[in-house]
Assembly symmetry: C2
Homo-oligomer: 142 residues x 2
DNA sequence: GTATATGTAACAATGGATGTTGCATTCGTC
DNA sequence: GACGAATGCAACATCCATTGTTACATATAC
């Protein structure tokens, strides 16, 4: 995995689950499919659980499944659950400048990027998890 | 500097230049203002020059300035000049899977992210460099 | 009690971005 | 023509976020 792997892994997994909503999957299964590691899967899916998108059960027959209807989950939900801020960045690490033009400009640039970030989230809100699942998929139970 | 530093540095610099379009600035000056290194500045601004947004002159009285009207430069121009792909990521590093559901899903996820990326660029096209420059700026010559 | 799952902490490894140095080249000025 | 000042560029070092890994505690079904 390389860039945007968290978002990618999340969408991948959710989309899979949208195909067979009832099925419970272990992090090991998911990791195999996604070509990564169970712990990484748990880390990412844990965020989605915090956001109420997934539920997990410990123990023998445990695993992960959707906590709500796939139709009601948008990419914005996923994006926000993962605390991604692709455009705006982490933001407030600018060392205070002596020059007032600089500080003004810096905050203005940050403002603009925040606006763009917001637009991005709005755009993400338009796509549902069910839109990601391939319509031509004849393998899953759906 | 930390995250999104290239985009941030580029916007910062262009916005500065929009204030005093005639002035030629050295990479050392710009680096000072941005709190970074002349070579880094040249790396980033070099991309903007390739895209025709800036021009640079070597030699004694050399430096950087806008190559076109600040009004005609949008954030999309900058974003694309820098080869940023914030949403879509680098993309094609997925190891080929034996499972056809996987490959289908992976390409579908990539498709969706590409769409979002495109929307982002469209959004960026709506903001001009002159929109970034603070209207309350009484320091620059504009 | 055992097997199997998550939850989590601690640490290692990887990789991209940034910072740095050095030097060739170009251009104005003396 | 020599010199100073700037870009252009390559090579290397450093930093840092992400990912990968190991280990172990905990919970649950059988």
């Amino acid at each position: 995995m390389k860039r945007n792997s968290r978002l990618s892994l999340a969408l991948h997994t959710l989309s899979h689950m949208a195909g067979e909503p009832g099925r419970v999957r272990t992090s090991a299964d998911i990791a195999d499919h996604a070509g990564t590691n169970p712990v990484v899967v748990r880390r990412v899916l844990g965020k989605l659980r915090e956001a109420g998108l997934l539920s997990s059960e410990k123990g023998h027959a445990g695993g992960w499944q959707l906590a709500k209807d796939a139709d009601s989950i948008t990419l914005a939900d996923v994006y926000l659950a993962l605390d991604e801020r692709l455009v705006a960045g982490s933001g407030g690490d600018a060392e205070p400048s002596h020059c007032s033009v600089e500080t003004g400009l810096q905050s203005r640039v940050a403002e603009v990027l925040d606006d763009i970030e917001e637009s991005l989230v709005e755009r993400l809100r338009e796509t549902k998890i069910t839109d990601v699942h391939p319509s031509s998929c004849s393998y899953c139970g759906s």
